[in-house]
Amino acid sequence: MPSWAEFQPYIVTGLALGGLYALSGVGLVVLYRATGVLNLAFGAVGAMGAFIAYSIIKAGNPGWVGWITCILFAGVVTLGYGMLFGPALAGRGPLVQSISTLGLALVLFGAIDLAWPTSGGQSPSISFPTDNGGFTVGQLQVTWTQVIALGLGIVITVGTGAFLRYSKLGTAMRAMANDRVITATLGVPIRRVEAAAWLGCGLLSGIAGIMLADLSALDDTTLVFTVVISSLAAALIGRLRSISVTFVAALVIGLVHDLITPITQLTNYQDMTPFVLATIALLVMSRGQVMTRSREEG
């Protein structure tokens, strides 16, 4: 077993990844609460935005042009999907609604592979100016990008929480999460509220996509599936309702995933981290519910 000192560097890398998982998880939860759709295309949209940003930057444009394009692209595509298919699928069950987003994910996944083939051994990448700056804590090197990743996770979580609690639009979203029909009866423009949720989710997927392209990899499989699974696991631990629990769960997933790295016996199993933690959390929570219902019925 490695010593505590050997574990320390992985706290930094794990928190940075966890911050982005949190940001992604919050985006998933907000959309789910407002529309009932678990957006499985979250990673694919961000991934395509990141690849577009890569091409823009490679063509000689300033980095910020690529980053903003990525975020806007993700927002527009997600909003477009929501507006086009959302109403038609609104009457279907949550499983159908969620799986339909998987269709979008696969279309984008194929498009990325066609537009940015990997032949010839070339590998696209995105880096931020903040990669080359940072500070050291003891023996640990911390880059500004890592700080930004964690900071974004915190800011987005707190900001979204405040938005849902204090803004009119946020209140409408919470109302729709409870009962869509009653909310509509009360005169809330549900299409507009849903559009806002789709757009917000899309913008967050763009931010997550561009950040993960730097911190993790500009790789379609990684961005479309592997990383997003961690965010989904965090959202599920938060029962797709609590953004604060989602945030904490995402940080824990990121931390545990990276802290396993120096344990050579477990390294090849570290990708199981989100599944294992989500399973444990859901089992524990459902056990609590069973006990509560037993008491109520008893």
Binding site: S98, I99, S125, S127, N178, V224, V228, I229, D258, P262
Partner: protein, 462 residues
């Protein structure tokens, strides 16, 4: 209560949807994993000796007309059918190899062909499915009536088809990846493959004084076979070595880079055997965290030898990262071979999507050797006559390899076992100034020793 049940239903449905994504990702990940076996693939190299051997025109005077015996005269005889199988799937695409071999054949066809016969090329692609690969092999032989297989490069093709090729008497010329490409009698490769290329990288850093090795590769089938080579070399020199394998695609490169640097220590070396995208991730992560100088050396097997990687890394890695190179380094190279490569790529290589690189160099070298062998056939072109011609190739100077190329009649084939070492130099890879010239892979690797016992040691050309 209703609300709670409603949420539970929705959450359960969402969980089911998420699970389906997980399963999908697992499938995708597995294809990508296999994809990185190529990482293990190996390829290019360098050769000033070979370069010098064919160096006569330093001013760009070689054109595509020199790839055939009758410049400008299209071949019109009975076609010679040749096939090839390459892996082409998301994350792993070796088709530039057969595409470049096809470009070479197109050049030959436009300039007299093979004794007047054009080569009809049947390049096919597979997606790492053994039944599909076995079926493609049979299709090439029974439907397309190929008389030779030249240009293969696949993650598992050698292991799937080795017995079939032997049963129909076909000798295969390709760019190998899996162990059977080097350890069976009916297949020989122009490249060294992941094991011997990793040997070269480990051998180099040990020669430069690294006191410990952290050897890392993608977690794909065959890693134990690959690691056996570097471990044998390190053990023979008394240098401690620690093996790692990583699931690909890598999702936390920062943590991984930290682990490797910690394992190697300040006087040690990190040696990577990955595809360029994964290797680049690790190296860039090390750079971001200022870890590049926390070890004495970084090294890579051949796949890292692409200018794209050198450009992406920047100057910090000049003379810090050393990459095994199996084929002629083309940057600034003006040998006749290099010029012919450029000319063919420009005129016939429109479908070689990666342009100049290890894969296209391998395809070119296969084209050269195949053409040389086919030209030696005097009677009809049959499986037997083409296989015999291939086996007769001996000490042929391709201008791309350190050594003359010998196919021969051996139970195993590692004809390329002498390599160069290159290092980044402001966005290009150049031959390392210290010990970067043609160097024999050590016979401390028992497979190399076995091959040399059977085939001898081919000297450097030039």
């Amino acid at each position: 209560m209703n609300r709670s049940v409603h949420w539970r239903t929705r959450t359960a449905a969402a969980a089911a949807a998420a699970l389906s994504l997980g399963v999908l990702a697992a499938c995708s990940s597995s294809s990508s994993s296999s994809g990185s076996a190529p990482a293990s693939s190996s390829a290019p190299g360098a050769s000033s000796a070979a370069a010098t051997a064919s160096n006569s025109a330093a001013t760009g005077t070689v054109s595509t007309s020199s790839c055939g015996t009758k410049p400008g005269v299209a071949a019109t005889g009975t076609p010679i059918n040749i096939g090839a199988i390459n892996t082409k799937q998301p994350g792993t695409d070796f088709s530039d190899i057969e595409n470049m071999t096809g470009a070479y054949f197109a050049c030959v066809n436009a300039n007299g062909g093979i004794n007047g016969h054009p080569i009809k090329y049947f390049p096919v692609t597979e997606q790492t499915s053994p039944p599909q690969i076995a079926s493609l092999a049979k299709q090439l032989v029974t439907t397309d009536h190929v008389v030779g297989i030249m240009g293969n490069s696949s993650i598992i093709e050698c292991s799937v088809d080795a017995a079939y090729w032997k049963s129909v008497g076909i000798e295969v010329l390709g760019a190998g990846i899996d162990p059977e490409c080097y350890s069976t009698p009916n297949t020989a490769s122009v490249n060294m493959g992941p094991r011997y290329s990793s040997d070269g990288a480990v051998q180099y850093v040990m020669a430069q004084g690294a006191s410990k090795i952290a050897f890392d590769q993608s977690n794909v089938p065959g890693t134990a076979y690959i690691a056996a080579g570097p471990n044998a070399l390190a053990k023979a020199k008394g240098v401690p070595i620690q093996d790692f394998t990583e699931n690909v695609p890598i999702t936390s490169a920062n943590a991984l880079a930290t682990k490797l640097v910690t394992a190697a220590g300040p006087s040690g070396a990190v040696v990577l055997n990955f595809t360029p995208p994964e290797a680049l991730l690790i190296l860039q992560a090390a750079q971001k965290l200022n870890l590049e100088n926390r070890v004495k050396y970084w090294a890579c097997s051949t796949p890292c030898n692409t200018d794209f990687l050198a450009t992406s890394l920047g100057q910090k890695w000049n003379n810090k990262l050393f990459v095994n190179a199996e084929l002629l380094p083309l940057d600034g190279n003006t040998t006749q071979t290099a010029q012919l490569f450029d000319a063919i790529l420009k005129q016939y290589g429109t479908n070689v999507s990666g342009g100049v690189g290890s894969f296209s160099e391998m395809g070119f070298t296969i084209g050269e050797i195949a053409t040389h062998a086919l030209e030696s056939v005097t009677g009809p072109y049959t499986i037997a006559s083409v296989s015999a011609a291939l086996k007769s190739v001996s000490n042929y100077n391709t201008g791309m390899l350190c050594q003359g190329y010998t196919y021969g009649n051996y139970s195993l084939h590692i004809p390329n076992n002498m390599d160069y070492t290159v290092t980044p130099d402001n966005g290009k890879f150049v031959q390392a100034s210290t010990g970067g010239g043609c160097t024999l892979i050590s016979a401390d690797d028992p497979q190399i020793a076995a091959y040399r016992a059977a085939a001898g040691t081919a000297p450097a050309v030039g």
